[in-house]
């Protein structure tokens, strides 16, 4: 894992001291609410429905045991004993007191964490594949480049007064596990396969203009192959074109996706390429040696060799869990463990301080000290010996963390919704809970196979409803909650935007409507087809017919 150098630590410590003073001035009445708001937002502190909410950055979703214990400590000491994993792989707390916020940031700084750029018009936490460094299908570990990007986009003047927020994702495999093309800027690390021209070289396939919210767009590919060490010039070019052209008169029109759409793919690309040449000429790019320095922190852990790939499946409950929650690891004898934060009837992404500490202990003992947060609001232990899996499962099971539902119908992404969020129009969590209860039978879930439900409580789409095989959007209809049903979205490599089926439903009605859509899928599916495959084959109408009967 990356370790702060003296500059990183000095910057974070200085920010804590600055915010402590700003907070003191606010509490003493020297700063108004309006004056203080942008200052607290720069430190990830929102004012939400019930209290202040703090969003802590987990860069590219990677966190150490020590850091995870600190997240547990914050939950216990400063919040109400729990935290919430977000769709940007961060951790947020719902019951923060302003007067304690500087102490929290100071505590975070002791373990090289912060909440900078988790809010406001900034470059947000860089997402990366939660299986980075472990996935059998990756070309290289994407995190060193994600870390380089994190560093060059932190506190940089060119990126400090953006029209709106800006989200970046980095992946290095064909499978997209972070909804990369729903980001403002996405990178897929690829290998040049052309035997006549540089075969074997690593490069970036670049995408721009994606985003959810009220105006959803899937990012275009704007460059086939960028030499990685030119990423600073290229990213500056993208940001400069956006900064130069973006509207700043209407908050709903200021995201880069709107500009890319308005200019058109070709014109946006042309302007970026033109600026790119200007930046390249300045010779400011990241030297290979700096990348190598960063990459050294992400060197593979010392995997044991000669391990068996056999897993003892004699305990049927363990076997069920292992069949669903494990993913192939690149090192023989190891597995990637997915920890579900979606217990039936629970709150997607929530976990208690005690559960955090348990996961930290397991990571320390069994996973080379690493935990990952996923954009689907689950956790990962990336490097577990297959021989240790049973012990890990037993510990998880005892803590209520051995759910068996990875990518199944109950593995639901849900935003905090109207239970916590000032922007929400409807509650998301109760809908997720009712759906999970309706489909609780594991045999039924397994029969349905991969089925991704994503729920947002308003059009800002923090619950990724545009990218759900089944999406649900909560709206306010004359003061009551109403839910629209969408079908056909995907955040994966087969990316697509979901389509609204028709009139909305109340809370009970939306659960029934989901079930009717799922039942229709079972009637129509062909062998091996997932829900999304059947939907794409037969189209919208058979489902709509069934939903609205």
């Amino acid at each position: 894992m990356y370790q702060y150098d003296k500059y990183d630590q000095a910057m974070v410590d200085a920010r804590v001291a600055e915010f402590r003073e700003q907070t003191r001035r606010r509490i003493e009445g020297h700063l108004t609410d309006d004056q203080f708001k942008p200052l607290r937002l720069k430190n990830g502190l929102y004012l939400q429905l019930h209290a202040y909410m703090l969003r802590v950055a987990i860069p590219y979703g990677t966190v150490s045991s020590r850091q995870f214990r600190m997240l547990a400590h914050i939950a216990r000491k400063y919040d109400r004993g729990y935290g919430h994993v977000t769709t940007r792989q961060n951790m947020q707390y719902n019951w923060i007191k302003l007067e304690e916020a500087p102490d929290i940031l100071a505590d975070l700084a002791t373990v090289q964490m912060h909440a900078i750029q988790t809010s406001g018009e900034s470059i947000r936490n860089v997402s990366a594949d939660q299986y980075a460094g472990a996935a059998a299908d990756e070309i290289i570990d994407p995190r060193p480049w994600a870390e380089v990007i994190r560093q060059i986009t932190s506190f940089m003047p060119e990126f400090s007064y953006l029209p709106r927020k800006f989200k970046i994702a980095v992946i290095a495999s064909d499978e997209d596990r972070v909804a990369m093309r729903w980001h403002d800027f996405g990178i897929r690390i690829v290998k040049n396969e052309n035997p006549e021209n540089g075969a074997g070289e690593i490069g970036f396939e670049c995408y721009a203009g994606g985003g959810m919210g009220r105006t959803p767009f899937i990012a275009y590919k704007i460059r086939e192959f960028l030499p990685p060490t030119q990423i600073l010039s290229y990213l500056q070019a993208v940001l400069r074109v956006w900064n130069r052209n973006a509207r700043r008169d209407n908050i709903h029109k200021q995201r880069m996706k709107i500009l890319v759409h308005d200019l058109g793919e070709e014109e946006f690309r042309r302007q970026v390429e033109e600026e790119f040449q200007n930046f390249l000429a300045l010779g400011q790019d990241v030297p290979q040696a700096e990348y190598d320095r960063v990459a050294a922190y992400f060197a593979p852990p010392p995997f044991e060799t000669g391990l068996s790939d056999e897993i003892d499946r004699s305990d049927p409950d363990f076997a069920l869990w292992a069949d669903r929650q494990l993913v192939a690891h690149k090192a023989p004898g190891y597995a990637i463990v997915n920890i579900s934060l979606k217990p039936t009837g629970g709150i997607p992404g929530d976990m208690s301080a005690e559960q955090m500490e348990l996961v930290a202990d397991l990571a320390e003992k069994y996973s080379f000290d690493e935990v990952r947060a996923t954009h689907a609001q689950n956790l990962v232990l990336p490097h577990v010996r297959k021989a240790d899996l049973y012990a890990v499962w037993q510990a998880l099971d005892a803590a209520g963390l051995a759910g068996v539902n990875l990518d199944l119908v109950t593995d639901i992404i849900a935003c905090p919704g109207l239970d916590y969020c000032t922007l929400a129009n409807a509650r998301s969590i109760p809908v997720a809970q009712r759906i999970a209860e309706r489909f609780a039978d594991l045999d039924r879930q397994r029969d349905l196979g991969e089925l991704k439900i994503k729920i947002s409580g308003c059009i800002n789409a923090c619950g990724h409803h545009h990218a759900g095989h089944i999406g649900i959007l909560g709206v306010d209809r004359k003061g009551t909650e109403n839910y629209q049903l969408l079908l056909g979205g995907s955040g994966s490599e087969d990316v697509s935007q979901a389509k609204i089926t028709g009139p909305g439903f109340d809370e009970a009605g939306i659960v029934d409507a989901v079930e009717r859509a799922v039942d229709r899928y079972r009637e129509l599916r062909e062998p091996g087809e997932r829900f999304i495959d059947t939907y794409r084959r037969v189209g919208f109408d058979p489902f709509k017919e069934s939903i609205y009967g």
């Binding site: 004012l47 429905l49 019930h50 719902n94 007191k97 109207l418 239970d419 000032t422 129009n425 003061g479």
Partner: protein, 99 residues
């Protein structure tokens, strides 16, 4: 009926204008009527409330002011999915008026 609400500056807790100050309990909320804007301006300027705003209220069966909109009813009660974190977790009727 106009009710005033906001958040406590230091703690962020939801508060309600009770006629002379800010209470944690929505049962204490009073109708600010035509004085709502003036009270908010005064209280905000004095940093006695954070992010204050006026909302429509409706009387409950006992004539007490309740927020009209679901968002503010949830603010008053707490997250509906965590009744243990509401101000009155032991009161089984505490949330009966929220949804």
């Amino acid at each position: 009926m106009k009710i005033l609400t906001g958040n406590d500056l230091k703690t962020g807790a939801v508060v309600w204008w009770d006629g002379s100050g800010w209470s944690l309990h929505v049962e204490d909320a009073t109708d600010a009527g035509e004085h709502a804007d003036m009270i908010l301006a005064t209280e905000t300027a004095a940093c006695r409330v954070n992010g204050g705003y006026a909302i429509d209220g409706v009387p409950d069966d006992h004539g007490k002011a309740r927020p009209a909109h679901i968002k503010d009813r949830i603010r008053a009660y707490g997250p509906t999915v965590r009744p243990d974190l509401s101000l009155k977790p032991a009161d089984p009727d505490a949330g009966s008026w929220v949804i």
